[in-house]
């Protein structure tokens, strides 16, 4: 559905996207994952036609964005990171304007607006001025405009940022629903969001793709080892020594008064750790398993080895 080939973007002399290529199949939900300024937004802006690539090309369905930009744009629904709203318009008139410029059939505009208002749960605010809506509702209006013309492709840039947790859950549910009919590319820097929504992940850092895989593979990569953090009252050297002797523990490190323990994902050494503590008369102040953060994955991917082909 989307084919990105050798895409490169310079802002002046600064290289923002560096020769990236990927495909997104019809009906897939793909996550673009990466830290801030990794090139996610720039990539999305090039797919949607807002920015022209410095080099490379993009095909949306059969249309390439260089020669058939209008046809390509017609297929795309786009929610930018800063939700683009005409704050002086009402929700309905805003959606009406967008339906018209995206060539929704005149006779169906009215019913389509009602439909998306229902989908995005905006019934109460259909005739409110957008400028007076709260942030979460503005986000929903943003989603509503993105789907008004039933696009085959949805591009969502950080769709859950800056809204409250309940709204986040609703937005995710909505994206899942939309993903049944459309191809979705969404960007995020929240790791759990990716595993919740996406079937495949493309990790971008400094304008390059550093990993691209199905979510199952990525999560095994993430949980290549499980990590547990301990806070113990006791002599650090001895504690480290005794802990590393426990069967199933791969590595023990001591930093900032905490012990970080790594072990294979199928092992659970917590009972044994407790036992060791009691035997030696040390006081265990806290014990928690920690998820690998995005930063850890980046470190892992960029330092340990070349990303797997």
């Amino acid at each position: 559905m989307i084919r990105v080939e050798n895409l490169t973007k310079y802002y002046g002399k600064r290289l923002a996207v560096d020769n990236i290529s990927f495909n997104v199949e019809k009906g897939e939900i793909v996550g673009l994952l990466g830290p801030n300024a990794a090139g996610k937004t720039t990539t999305m802006r090039m797919i949607t036609g807002f920015l022209a690539p410095s080099q490379g090309n993009i095909w949306v369905s059969d249309y390439d964005i260089r020669n058939h930009s209008l046809e390509a744009r017609q297929l795309i629904g786009y929610l930018p990171e800063a939700v683009p709203l005409y704050t002086d318009m009402t929700v309905t008139s805003y959606l009406d304007f967008l339906a018209r410029i995206r060539k929704v059939d005149k006779n169906t505009i009215k019913s389509r607006i009602e439909e998306v208002i229902n989908i995005c749960h905006l019934e109460e605010y259909a005739n409110s001025i957008i400028g007076k809506l709260s942030k979460g509702y503005r986000q929903r209006v943003g989603v509503a405009q993105a789907i008004i013309h039933k696009p085959k492709v949805l591009i969502l840039d950080e769709p859950t940022i800056g809204i409250d947790p309940l709204q986040v859950a609703m937005t995710r549910q909505l994206i899942r629903e939309l993903g049944k009919e459309s191809t979705v590319i969404l960007s995020t820097h929240i790791l759990p969001e990716v595993s919740m929504l996406c079937e495949r992940v493309i990790i971008i850092n400094e304008g390059k793709i550093i990993a691209e895989d199905r979510i199952e593979h990525l999560s095994s990569l993430i949980s290549g080892s499980k990590r547990i953090r301990l806070e113990v009252e006791g002599p650090s050297k001895e504690v480290t020594d005794r802990l590393s002797r426990i069967k199933g523990i791969l590595k023990v490190s001591y930093e900032n008064h905490h012990y970080i323990i790594e072990c294979p994902p199928q092992q659970d050494p917590r009972a044994k750790i407790m036992e060791t503590m009691v035997q030696n008369g040390w006081t265990l102040l806290s014990l928690e398993s920690i998820d690998m953060s995005l930063e850890d994955i980046f470190l892992k991917l960029t330092t340990e080895e070349e990303p797997g082909e």
């Binding site: 807002f50 683009p84 005409y86 704050t87 304007f97 967008l98 410029i101 995206r102 405009q145």
Partner: protein, 236 residues
Amino acid sequence: MKNITTIAIKEFKSYLSSPMAYVVSGIFLALTGFFFSISSATYFETSIRGFLGIGSILLLLLAAVLTMRLLAEERKLGTLELLLTAPLRDSEIILGKFFGSLGILAAMLVLTFYYPILLLIFGDPDIGPIITGYIGLLLLGCTALAVGLFASSLTSNQIVAAVVAGGILGALWFAGSAAGLLPTALAEIFNYLSLSTHFPDFMTGIIDTRSIIYYLSITALFLFLATRSLENSRWN
């Protein structure tokens, strides 16, 4: 064409829902009305020359104010991203915005029709110069709006857009005055390029095709530049 109409209507409506258009029209009507009544009362003229004289200059200033938000605000709010990712040509966006603002300007001119109507009721004015005067104002207005739209396409700051538009329009208006200081060949060019040298004909009832072509070509030039400037934002 449909896209242009859609955008023009949207712009026209959003003018009506903000105070700007009303303030601008109010000032325009108050000042031109004052000069119209002064000239009618002082010179016992049954013409709208007093209105046209001040109206032409005011139109330039007000066009700069009317157009300053057209693209600068979209850039600032991020809604430009909506327009530039919609299946619209850049030229359609520019033309839609141009015609939207032209609608407001035309409405403003229609509101001044009561000057000639008063003359018709209480006197026997020469209709010719009145009609050509309005044609002249409309053409001058088109030019000023195109310049303003171009200025608005350059920045995300509305004030900067208005000042740039005012600067370009001022330079074009006074280019004729600078002609006196220049050698003949250059002076003719400056005279031709000046917005002000083409206007007096319209006030006296003359329709010179050269003047019409002049105003329309300057309008087209700045609409073209605005389109290029919009296109250019995709490359940065």
